[in-house]
Every structure is written in structure tokens, then in C-alpha cells.
């Protein structure tokens, strides 16, 4: 078996030698095995490749000279005496590049003949061109950007409300039928041209062929994938984000299962947008039994429950620490809320769960992402709200709302803790304060201190240095609050954050952070009485409204 990594690899040429080929897309459990071989800040795919090859090196691996990370991975593999071939892939697709690649294909062909003693079979080569998978017809969702693992693609295919096309860098391999020419050089010239004419990868010089990928009238949504530390595709995403007027969500994969929860929230919110777009409501809700509706927000730090009556009045709510047992915390939160309102389980007509743990809550009728729920809750609390700034324990989000409370766009922080409640907790620890003390100390700041490090680990050592240099704790705290405000508002990029702004999530109870956010926005933000329950409130509202719709 010959393994390859890139769509520009001449796999049909190997068919001419009766060799089987397969795309190498390993997703090891973790990338620890790569740590001794390369730097941690290399592209995750190249690290996954090295980690996987250390345990599976029998097959020949064909690489292309496609990027810095693969070139460096090649250096490592050669040092390990792995059977690896590197193809010189030009970046220019016009005549001069085609000539270079034609000669590279001829070199490969002759080298392979020499290495294996086999003769190149032109008929087998030609017949390899007919193995094209049919593309889904009609409306579809495209996965674009960098390569992604097979398991994740399968999951997307399973959950997407519309058929999915794999338009990532390795999913776009489509070639024509070879002409009837006798001369091998002419045939390889055609083949080089055909390979280089595929929809361009971002490392090529001419990207015009990529336009067709987003100009298809049947395209209804885009899941844009980037690989951690592969920078090529982030640039295209930024351009498409400004240009495309269909739902689009960005995910970042690191070729391990880490970060899966956050990705499922993003993807879940995207599927909800697509469902809304195609006007289907495949929700089965139990018919009204007694006229109360529950929303449960199972967050990473707290679990919140809200109970509404049929008039959309908040009858009761409860906030608990999540702990390790997600379902039990959700049950307890709901029970306490029921107890407060003097109700019992049977009186709840429908329960919608949201938050990280939403899918694990077994007694839910439906789960909806916290993006949609926060938007719904904020709109209910004040219909003038157009921007929700939600700073939670482990992530932060900006949600832009339409006038009817639906989601216009949203942005989430990456896996880093900067700009979240967790960041403030870590800093409180360094300062020897409780989180409650810290919330108050920031307001007593006198000096404007800038915490320059965005990374929590670096910021922690910066805080220690500031203490050592005799700075006041109050000033340091407000510097940290400003750093959180800067990180969160920066999520919006160049998008305008329209008034009214509402802050939700536990950190909205911290007056220092609120002041810092207001300073950045240049005006006052709206604060709900209980900012933690906004997501659960939205979930309860969705339960009620969908129940009414039947």
C-alpha cells in the first residue's frame, strides 16, 4: 500500500504499477509521540502524521513539497529511515509549473520502475481515472478549508440537515479523462496539467479556481475547517466571512479529540441556522401536559435551571456548581427550582437543555446550543438588544442578534482561557484573592496598568512581577479586567457591535469587568438581574414556543 497526503499526488500513476494507494489521514489519540520529534507549534496534521508513523511505518509514504510543516516532517521521517518520497510540487499552475511537474512525474515513473522492477502499464493508468464518487445533488452544505479527519467528517455527514460535500484541500480531487496519446511524455504533460488544474490549494499562486466553490447556487452553508498551526486557510476564511451571505461556521481541528465539546457547540448552532433556513422543525415535543416549561443550562462551571409558566413568567430559577456529574447536577438544579416554585416533575410539559453538557442530560426533550438560547433569553429580557456578550467560566462569546431575536452571527473564543472566567480565577489565585474579593477590588484602581500578555500562563508570571515591583493589587486587578474586556471584544474583529449591548454569564456580576467592557464599547451595557440564567431562560422559552407550535 502507498500512502499519500495531498490531492496533487499522482495516485493514478501508481495504479499504472498496480499499486494500491490510500489517503493518509491519521487521527491518533494524542500527539505525544510527535513531541520528541518536532516542535509543539508545528501544524497539528504534520504532528499527527509523525505520531502515527512512529507506530506504522511499513507503507511507502508519498509527500509533496506543499508547506513548511510537511517539508520539516519529511526531514524527520528521513532521519528515522522511513520509506518516504518527496515530490517537487510547483506553486505556479501555468505552463512553466506544468513543465516542472511533468518532469517530476517522469522522474517518479522511472525511479519507480527501477526500484520495483515493474513496468508502467498505461491501460491500468488510464482506467484509474474513472473512479469518481458521485456528488450530492440539490442543496448542500460544504466543508471547506484544510483537511479534516475521517471521523469528524462522518459525524458532520450524520448530523447535518443537508447533504455534505467535502471541499477541503484533500476532498477536492477530481480529474478528467486522459487523451489517447501514445507518447509517454505527452501523457505526463497532460497529467501534470490536469493535476495542477484542480481547485487550487491555498499554497498555489493562482486561486481563481476556488471562487467556484462558493459561487454554486446550491450551496446553503459552509463549515470552514482550519488545522491548528496551519495558517493558510485562516486567510480565506476571513475573506469569505466578509463576502458570503449564507451561514458559515469556523472550526479548528487539532487531529485529536480535544476541543470536541466546543466544536459540537459551534456545529450545533450552525445546524440550527441551516434548519431555520430550510424551514423544517423536526422537533418532537411531548404535547402540553400542565403548562410549565423548563430550561437547563449545563455549563462548565455552573448549571442553571429556569421554569416558566405559559404566560412566559419566570416562576423559579436555580444556579448550582456543575461538578463532575453533569446529569445529577442538572437534576438537582431542576429539583431545587421545582421545590422553590412548589411544583413537581409531572407539571413540566417540556424541557430543553443547553450548554456544554446539553446532550448528556437524559431527561431533556430537546437540546439547543447556548448560542441560540442566550440570544433568545436576551431578546426576551430586552427586545432592543442586538449584541450579547457572554463571558462564562471556560468560554466567551459574542452573539449578534436580528430584530426578532434570532442569531445573525456569533463568535467564540478559541481553546485558550484568556477572556474567560477561568482566566480571572487563575489570576485571583496568583493574587491570593477570592473571586468575590477580586470583583470588588478592580473598582478601586488608581493607576492604569496594562497586562500585556494575553496567554494565561504568561499573564500569571506578569502578575507576579507586578506584585514584586510594588504595584497595588487594585490596579493589577483592573489591568486584568481590561485584558479580559479587550480579548472578548476583539472576538468581533472588524464587525460592528451594535447597541443595545447586554452582558450575560457569571462574569457579568464582576463590576470591574463590566466597567472595562463599557470603556471599550464607549457606553453602558445592559445587565440582567441574574446574568447566569440567560441561557436557561432562552432554553425554557424555546421549550414553550415549540410546544405552542406543536
Amino acid at each position: 500500500m502507498i500512502r499519500y497526503v495531498c490531492k496533487y499526488t499522482p495516485v493514478e500513476l501508481f495504479a499504472g504499477f498496480d499499486e494500491e494507494t490510500a489517503l493518509y489521514n491519521p487521527m491518533p489519540e494524542n500527539l505525544d509521540a510527535a513531541d520528541g520529534l518536532t516542535h509543539r507549534n508545528m501544524c497539528s496534521y504534520s504532528r499527527a502524521l509523525l505520531a502515527a508513523r512512529t507506530g506504522d511505518d511499513a507503507d511507502v509514504l508519498i509527500l509533496t513539497d506543499c508547506c513548511d510543516s510537511i517539508r520539516r516532517a519529511w526531514d524527520v521521517l528521513r532521519s528515522l529511515d522511513q520509506p518516504t518520497e518527496m515530490l517537487l510540487l510547483p506553486r505556479r499552475q501555468e505552463e512553466c509549473g506544468r513543465e516542472i511537474y511533468k518532469n517530476e512525474l517522469l522522474r517518479l515513473l522511472r525511479d519507480w520502475e527501477k526500484q520495483t522492477g515493474k513496468t508502467f502499464n498505461c491501460r491500468a493508468f488510464r482506467s484509474a481515472f474513472n473512479r469518481l464518487d458521485a456528488l450530492p445533488e440539490g442543496h448542500y452544505v460544504a466543508v471547506m478549508g484544510a483537511r479534516l479527519g475521517d471521523a469528524l467528517l462522518e459525524d458532520i455527514r450524520k448530523k447535518s440537515p443537508l447533504p455534505v460535500r467535502n471541499n477541503t484541500c484533500t476532498g477536492l480531487r477530481r480529474l478528467g479523462v486522459p487523451p489517447e496519446v501514445d507518447d509517454l511524455e505527452d501523457l505526463m504533460d497532460w497529467y501534470a496539467g490536469e493535476l495542477l488544474a484542480q481547485p487550487a490549494c491555498m499554497r498555489m499562486t493562482d486561486l481563481n479556481s476556488r471562487r467556484a466553490l462558493t459561487e454554486d447556487p446550491n450551496l446553503r452553508g459552509v463549515i470552514y475547517n482550519t488545522v491548528n498551526f496551519c495558517d493558510f486557510y485562516g486567510f480565506e476564511y476571513a475573506t469569505l466571512h466578509d463576502r458570503l451571505n449564507i451561514p458559515m461556521v469556523k472550526i479548528e481541528t487539532d487531529y485529536t479529540s480535544q476541543g470536541a465539546a466546543q466544536m459540537s457547540t459551534r456545529l450545533g448552532a450552525f445546524y440550527e441556522e441551516i434548519k431555520e433556513l430550510i424551514k423544517t422543525h423536526p422537533v418532537s415535543i411531548r404535547q402540553s401536559r400542565a403548562g410549565y416549561y423548563a430550561g437547563i443550562d449545563s455549563g462548565s462551571t455552573t448549571t442553571n435551571a429556569v421554569i416558566l409558566d405559559q404566560e412566559k413568567r419566570i416562576i423559579s430559577s436555580c444556579t448550582l456548581l456543575t461538578g463532575v456529574q453533569i446529569v445529577e447536577s442538572a437534576q438537582q438544579a431542576l429539583e431545587q427550582a421545582l421545590r422553590k416554585a412548589n411544583l413537581h416533575h409531572q407539571q413540566i410539559s417540556s424541557t430543553v437543555s443547553t450548554g456544554y453538557g446539553r446532550a448528556g442530560i437524559t431527561f431533556r426533550d430537546r437540546d439547543v446550543t447556548e448560542i441560540t438560547c442566550h440570544a433568545r433569553g436576551a431578546h426576551f429580557l430586552n427586545p432592543a438588544v442586538r449584541t450579547v456578550i457572554d463571558i462564562g467560566g471556560q468560554d466567551s462569546k459574542i452573539i449578534l442578534l436580528n430584530g426578532d431575536g434570532s442569531v445573525r452571527d456569533f463568535m467564540m473564543n478559541d481553546k485558550c482561557a484568556a477572556g474567560t472566567g477561568r482566566f480571572l480565577e487563575m489570576m485571583a489565585q496568583s493574587l491570593g484573592l477570592t473571586i468575590e474579593e477580586m470583583a470588588l477590588r478592580g473598582l478601586q484602581a488608581r493607576e492604569n496598568i496594562t497586562i500585556s500578555s494575553m496567554c494565561s500562563v504568561f499573564a500569571q508570571s506578569e502578575v507576579v512581577s507586578l506584585i514584586a515591583s510594588g504595584k497595588r493589587v487594585e490596579d493589577i486587578v483592573q489591568g486584568l479586567n481590561r485584558s479580559v474586556a479587550a480579548k472578548v471584544t476583539a472576538l468581533a474583529g472588524r464587525r460592528k457591535l451594535e447597541r443595545e449591548w447586554m452582558m450575560t454569564g457569571g462574569v457579568a456580576r464582576n463590576p470591574g469587568v463590566v466597567a472595562a467592557v463599557e470603556e471599550r464599547l464607549g457606553g453602558n451595557v445592559l445587565l440582567p438581574e441574574e446574568p447566569e440564567i440567560c441561557g436557561a431562560l432562552g432554553a425554557a422559552l424555546i421549550a414553550l414556543e415549540e410546544s405552542e407550535r406543536g
Binding site: H39, D68, S79, M202, A238
Partner: protein, 423 residues
């Protein structure tokens, strides 16, 4: 950091968002003041060649900011001989980003770039240049041209900048191996980019001028090789900034009379330098965080330590064949030690470590540079096998916000103590 520069950087940052023109004017004033200061109150600890190159580079940056209509945006490795022959002013990533860092204003530009969608994991020199362009603080250059050497960041950065300004753009693709075929491929592209430049500028390249530029380049390189040869037995006081300043004459300014004058002074200084006296002699891999106080304290003008060179400054120092300019430029790119397999860079580093009698190597893993990061393990293993101690140091050559200063200085100091304890 100097309080005035701190304040200056904050003002540039403020204007970047509200009034890009004011930010640019402020930067120009800043570099003019700096030029005046260097002439009227020169730092006497610097050797004549070091004072000269600081002045020369300041002029190069200022000219490109003052005359955008004669300016081309390029990368460090782009062969600028044609530009010099046509009196076009190159503005390059590491140079401009370094100067913006010197004005304490890189943070604002990096922030702007990241908010515009540039990945956080991207090289910070490139993010700084992108931020300065996308915020419109920099005025549009006449055209953008870059090579694929030495890193992928060039492709994304210059494409984005050209699209933003809507100016012509040319990429010179440099394959990883040097053969007759790849020389012809690269030379052909260099001729094409020359035609593009002629068309954009509405001027013809005078071939004689190009040959003269290349002859000057050869004279410069001959003096530089002589300097490197003599340096093996010499101690020359220096600072980290000077080694970064050298990137101008060894790359984009190579072929100009100013660069030639620099190499003449450098050779004079080397001849006049004292003999090596048992100081710790170090080579540096990749760029240098010359702005970082903790690193400056360990190296600048230290009589017991000699920073010999960074490997970007000896990536290709051989003569070029001025009678075949395009092939010569192509060869210079293809045979550059940063091109192709990591082994090429390792071999060159080992060769120079031996020639310059280095006691140790600092392998600087600049944030976002996959080209360098990916080689850290293999290169340090190769050097250690040859008996040369290596410190692999993670950091950021340009972004003040992206480092753990305490950890870096502890590691560097411990490495120096280790080396110095041996003697």
C-alpha cells in the same frame, strides 16, 4: 523601556484605529528624530560600521515611507537587484516590523491584523506588516513581489496586501532543489517579474545598471567573506540590534553603494578589532528579539561574550555571475541555505560554527516560523553530535505580548553559565 518610546507607541496605536494618516506622520517624525539623534548624539559604544548601518537602515525605512510612489513591498529574500537598478525602494517584512517594534507600536498592528482575521498562530513579523497595511497606516506601494523562499507566510501575507491595495503582485516560486531545470524556472520568473515592474513603473530597466548593481554586490560579498574569515580570531563589541541591522545590507540593500560602504567599514572595524581573548562565542539561529531588555542585558557590549552572527546573515555569501543576471539571482535563491531540506541549513550552520570558532549555538524558535521550529530537534541533535552545545529557546522576535520573559532569561542565563563554567 524608555518612557518616551512607550508613550510614542501608545499614540501610534491610538491613531492606527482613529486616523491612520496621523499614525503614519507620527512614525515618520519618529524616524526623522531618531536619524537626527544618531547623527548628533551617536552611541559611542558602537563601532563606525555599526553606527553607519543603523543610520543607513533608518534612511531606508524613512525613504520608503516618504515615497510610496517609488516603493515596492517585498520579502527579505526577494532579489532586489532589479529594484536598485531602477531606483525603486524596497520595503520588507522583517525590516519594517522591526522598526515598528522599535517604535513600540507592533502591538497595535498585530491586534489590527488578528481582528481582521489573520490567524493568531501566524508569524508576528508578518502580522505586524499586515496590520500596518490593512489599517491603511502604510500608503499603497506601486507593487508587491515576493519569493516562496524562505517560508509559507510570504504567500498569504503578500497576497492579502496586494488584494487590499489592489496593486499588481508577483510570486517567484523557488523549488527546494537546484538543478538546471529549476534554475531556468526561477530565472524565467525573475524575467517575468522584471517585465511586470517595467510595465507598472512605465520605465525600462537598463541592463548595464543591473550588471553594475551585481558587481557592487560581488564587491560587498568579497569584503563580507573577508570579515567572516577574520572574525574567527577577533573580538568585536556588539549589540543584538546590530546583528538584526545587518539583514538590510546582506539582503534587500545588497547591491547598493550604501551597502558597499557598510561592508568596507565593517572590514576596517574587523581589521582594527582586538584578538579573541577567551570570550564566549555564540552563533544565533533565526531572528533575534533585540527589543527584549533581559536579552540585551546578557549580550550588549559584553566583553566576555561575542555574538558572532545569526544564520540569516550567512545564508548565501558567494559571488554571483553578473554576466547572466537572472540565472545568477535564481542560483542565489536556489542555493540559499534556507531553501529545501533542513539539512542544507544544518550543514551551513555547522560549517560557520567551526569557521567562527563558536562555543555554542542559540536556536531561536520564533513564534509562527514552522520553517525553523520544525528543524529544532534535528539541528540541535546534529550540532550536539559535533560537540557544539545548543540552547533551543522559544520566544517571539517581534511581539512583546507573546513571551514569557522570566523563563526565557533564566534559560539563556543558565546556558551561558554552563558554557562559561566549562572554560
Amino acid at each position: 523601556m524608555n518612557k518616551v518610546i512607550e508613550k510614542f507607541g501608545a499614540m501610534v496605536g491610538q491613531f492606527t484605529l482613529t486616523s491612520p494618516r496621523k499614525a503614519l506622520s507620527l512614525l515618520k517624525v519618529g524616524y526623522k528624530v531618531s536619524s537626527f539623534q544618531m547623527k548628533s548624539l551617536p552611541d559611542n559604544r558602537l563601532l563606525p560600521s555599526q553606527q553607519y548601518v543603523a543610520n543607513m537602515n533608518n534612511r531606508t525605512i524613512l525613504r520608503s515611507l516618504q515615497r510610496p510612489e517609488r516603493c515596492a513591498m517585498v520579502n527579505l529574500f526577494f532579489p532586489c537587484e532589479v529594484l536598485h537598478a531602477m531606483h525603486i525602494l524596497p520595503m520588507f517584512t522583517e525590516g519594517l516590523a522591526g522598526y515598528l517594534n522599535g517604535a513600540n507600536s507592533e502591538g497595535a498592528f498585530i491586534g489590527y491584523a488578528e481582528n481582521s482575521g489573520v490567524p493568531q498562530t501566524f508569524c508576528s513579523y508578518h502580522k505586524t506588516l499586515l496590520g500596518a497595511a490593512l489599517s491603511d497606516v502604510l500608503e499603497p506601494p506601486r507593487f508587491v513581489a515576493n519569493t516562496s523562499l524562505a517560508c509559507d507566510a510570504n504567500l498569504s501575507t503578500f497576497r492579502t496586501i496586494a488584494a487590499h491595495y489592489q496593486v499588481p503582485h508577483f510570486v517567484v516560486d523557488v523549488p527546494g532543489v537546484c538543478t538546471a531545470e529549476t534554475i531556468a524556472y526561477v530565472a524565467g520568473q525573475l524575467e517575468d517579474v522584471t517585465h511586470m515592474i517595467e510595465e507598472v513603473m512605465g520605465e525600462k530597466l537598463e541592463e548595464d545598471r543591473l550588471v553594475e548593481v551585481m558587481r557592487s554586490e560581488n564587491r560587498s560579498l568579497r569584503m563580507y567573506r573577508e570579515h567572516l574569515h577574520l572574525l574567527a580570531g577577533k573580538y568585536m563589541p556588539s549589540n543584538l540590534t546590530t546583528e538584526m541591522h545587518k539583514l538590510f545590507p546582506t539582503h534587500v540593500s545588497l547591491g547598493t553603494s550604501e551597502a558597499e560602504e557598510y561592508f568596507r567599514l565593517l572590514l576596517e572595524d574587523t581589521n582594527a578589532a582586538v584578538s579573541s581573548h577567551g570570550e564566549t562565542r555564540l552563533l544565533w539561529v533565526h531572528t533575534i528579539p533585540s527589543w527584549q531588555d533581559s536579552m540585551r542585558e546578557l549580550f550588549n557590549f559584553n566583553t566576555q561574550r561575542q555574538l558572532l552572527a545569526c544564520d540569516l546573515n550567512f545564508d548565501y555569501v558567494d559571488d554571483v555571475d553578473a554576466s547572466h543576471p537572472y540565472e545568477a539571482m535564481a542560483k542565489r535563491l536556489l542555493l540559499n541555505s534556507f531553501n529545501g531540506s533542513g539539512e542544507n541549513r544544518a550543514v551551513r550552520l555547522l560549517e560557520m560554527a567551526r569557521e567562527l570558532k563558536a562555543d555554542g549555538v542559540i536556536y531561536f524558535c520564533h513564534w509562527g516560523c514552522k520553517q525553523t521550529l520544525g528543524n529544532a530537534h534535528l539541528m540541535s541533535a546534529a550540532l550536539e553530535q559535533a560537540g557544539i552545545p545548543v540552547l533551543v529557546l522559544d520566544g517571539d522576535g517581534c511581539d512583546r505580548k507573546n513571551i514569557n520573559d522570566g523563563q526565557m532569561s533564566t534559560r539563556m542565563q543558565a546556558f551561558l553559565e554552563m558554557l562559561e563554567g566549562r572554560s
